[in-house]
Amino acid sequence: MPDTPRRGLDAVEEGPRPSDAGPGGSSGTHASASDHPSVAALEARFGKAILRHRVSAGDQTVVWIDPAKSLEILTWLKDEPGQRFDMMADVTAVDYGQGRPVEVVYQMFSTGQKRALRVRCALPIEALEIDSVAGLWKCANWLEREVYDLFGVTFKGHPDLRRILMPYDYAEGHPLRKDFPLRGRFSRAEQTRRALAQDVDRFYRAEDLRLGGAPQEVAVGGPSTDGGASVGTGEGS
């Protein structure tokens, strides 16, 4: 360290200091993301739809784009010969809470050029809608379902937008939103009552197994196919 070693309590107040030797620890020196070739190309091609960009955590380029043009820009990033981000490593979202926009985050990687790019779209909390990229990257199918399930972001044009981790009939909302309390919206008593009142056979009904329909189309409760049962008894008698 160049200056005197910090004493314990002073350092605790200040927080960690970037290590001098660290390649990722120089977040202050590279304030602009212009050295990433995709950023300049994006700005040249899409202009104002590229809202801003920055370098985060030392060497990771983040680009904020206009959600209205997200599908167009992401298609371009995937197909343009100079870009070719053929791997969508991750689709997720961040909720900062207090009514601030929910940001959908795409972690892209180009296996040909070995380059990563992070694209973020800020969606206003009252209109959580964005175009689906499941048609471009198949892996986005489940990842977008997870974001829909946990954040309530609707992906327009998604082939099969259902809950994926929570139960299909989960009634308490979207758990990873900041306004969702850690222990759920319902009281423990109510949660227990609902769990015990569940019709367990429901999960093995033929109608439920016809999955892949429209979002949340699965019927809750109600009698199941008694036609099949009557045929069975007729043959048995």
Binding site: P5, R6, R7, G8, L9, A11, V12, E14, G15, P16, R17, P18, S19, G22, G24, G25, S26, S27, S56, A57, G58, Q60, V62, D86, M87, M88, A89, D90, T92, V94, D95, Y96, G97, V105, Q107, T111, K114, A116, R118, W137, K138, C139, N141, W142, L143, E146, L150, R163, I164, L165, M166, P167, P175, L176, F180, L182, Y204, A206, L209, L211
Partner: protein, 426 residues
């Protein structure tokens, strides 16, 4: 870069033609007209409690006879909302959540998480810590692959490799226990270092494991690699092309078996992986057999990396010498008032992070394991902690892989993807 193509010593199944389809039997079938039977598509539910699903996974299959028309995976039975819990924990408290996701290779998750947080905070860990973490991660790559090997062999009817593999896993369990005090829930890492340095004699234990483990691996290899039954069950089953594998987001051995040269250790190196001498096996057919070969070879390569890591393990401190990150020694805490306060403040308040976000990918045993952390200025807890789950993305391809195969092949395909439900459901 070292050569990255491994040539397999065994040929493809001789009973299969060049197009991968079985050649017709030399015996003429009896010319008996098939009786007119009413046919109907059938719906079969496998799981959520079924040994062949390797966890609490439910597969809903539409069958035509024994042929799978469509399979719909239903997940979420183990959902624990770890990511939500993480938003209520300080940076170091989250470490205990990470190993509960992939309990088959817990140390990789421990390391990947703290690496991401350290990168966000700009902390460079000590040289000793880097090598110790490489040892941890490579050891758990073997650990995870061994479980996959044993259970998958059982799925295709081979019982002996299961026993051999689990004997070796038990030795790694003991190494885990000596290092961290726990066999599965290791929680060995801390931001800026490790919970503790390597105990005395641990490296000797690791060395003796490395001396004898390759022999067992060679025995399993002899049992399976040229085994006609194993070959018949795996070759040409669940094949996927390279472009499709990338599009489906496959990573790890599943992707490399399809012939894609992508390994995070080589392509986005961390912890000086570029200075280790190892090869990345690449398959060409993308089927279950190539996935098997890739994982077998990865274990051998991990042994190589481990030997090199032991040889270069430097001395010195294991934790960074930054008081705002590392705790003072226990002796100081008990004898010095300021150290006591320092300890108390770090534990109760946590480490403040700079504003920003960081995505750090490591090569886990299942594939690309990404840890994405988002922090606000001075935040001692993450705004968002996201795990990019390799098994989750890998499992989503099963509907495509199993289409048109038999139900028994579906079991093999599911096994060959190497999933862990704790991480899929999180």
């Amino acid at each position: 870069m070292a050569q990255r193509v491994v040539e397999y010593a065994v040929g493809r199944n001789p009973e299969m033609g060049p197009d991968g389809l079985p050649t017709p039997s030399p015996f003429e079938p009896f010319d008996v007209p098939e009786p007119e039977l009413g046919t109907e598509e059938m719906l079969i539910n496998i799981g959520p409690q079924h040994p062949a699903t390797h966890g609490v996974l439910r597969l809903i299959c539409e069958l035509d006879g024994e042929t799978v028309l469509r399979v719909t995976p239903d997940i979420g039975y183990l959902h624990s909302s770890f990511e939500k819990l993480g938003e209520y924990r300080t940076w170091n408290q989250i470490v205990t959540l990470t190993d509960r996701m992939d309990y088959l290779a817990p140390l990789i998750y421990n390391c990947a998480y703290v690496m991401s947080v350290e990168k966000l905070m700009g902390i460079e860990v000590t040289e000793r810590c880097k090598v110790v973490r490489v040892i941890c991660m490579e050891l758990d790559r073997i650990f995870g692959h061994l479980l996959w090997l044993g259970t998958t062999a059982i799925d295709v009817g081979a019982f002996t490799p299961f026993l051999y593999a689990f004997q070796q896993r038990e030795r790694i369990y003991l190494l885990h226990e000596a290092l961290t005090g726990a066999r599965i829930t290791t929680s060995a890492t801390r931001v800026g270092g490790m919970m503790a340095d390597l105990p005395d004699g641990w490296i000797d234990g690791l060395r003796s494991f490395l001396d004898t483990f390759p022999n067992t691996l060679a025995e399993i290899d002899r049992l399976l690699t040229g085994n006609q039954i194993h070959i018949g069950r795996t070759q040409g089953v669940g094949a996927i092309t390279a472009d499709e594998a990338i599009n489906y987001g496959l990573t790890g051995p599943n992707l490399r078996a399809a012939g894609v040269d992508y390994d995070v250790r080589k392509d986005r190196p961390y912890y000086d992986y570029e200075t280790y001498d190892f090869e990345v096996p690449i398959g060409e057919h993308g089927d279950c057999y190539d996935r098997y070969l890739c994982r077998m070879e990865e274990m051998r390569q991990s042994v190589r990396i481990l030997r090199q890591a032991i040889a270069r393990l430097p001395g010195g401190p294991i934790n960074v010498q930054d008081p705002s990150v590392s705790l003072p020694s226990k002796t100081d805490c008990m004898s010095d008032m300021e150290s006591m306060i320092h300890h108390f403040k770090l534990i109760t308040e946590g480490i403040p992070a700079p504003e920003g976000d960081c995505y750090m990918a490591v090569e886990g045993s299942k594939g690309e394991l990404g840890m994405y952390v988002v922090a606000e200025e001075g935040g001692t807890k993450p705004v968002r902690w996201r795990v990019r789950p390799p098994s989750f993305v890998n499992l989503s391809v099963i509907a495509r892989l199993a289409e048109g195969h038999l139900v028994s092949d579906l079991i093999m395909i599911n096994a060959s993807l190497d999933i862990v439900l704790g991480e899929i459901d999180r």
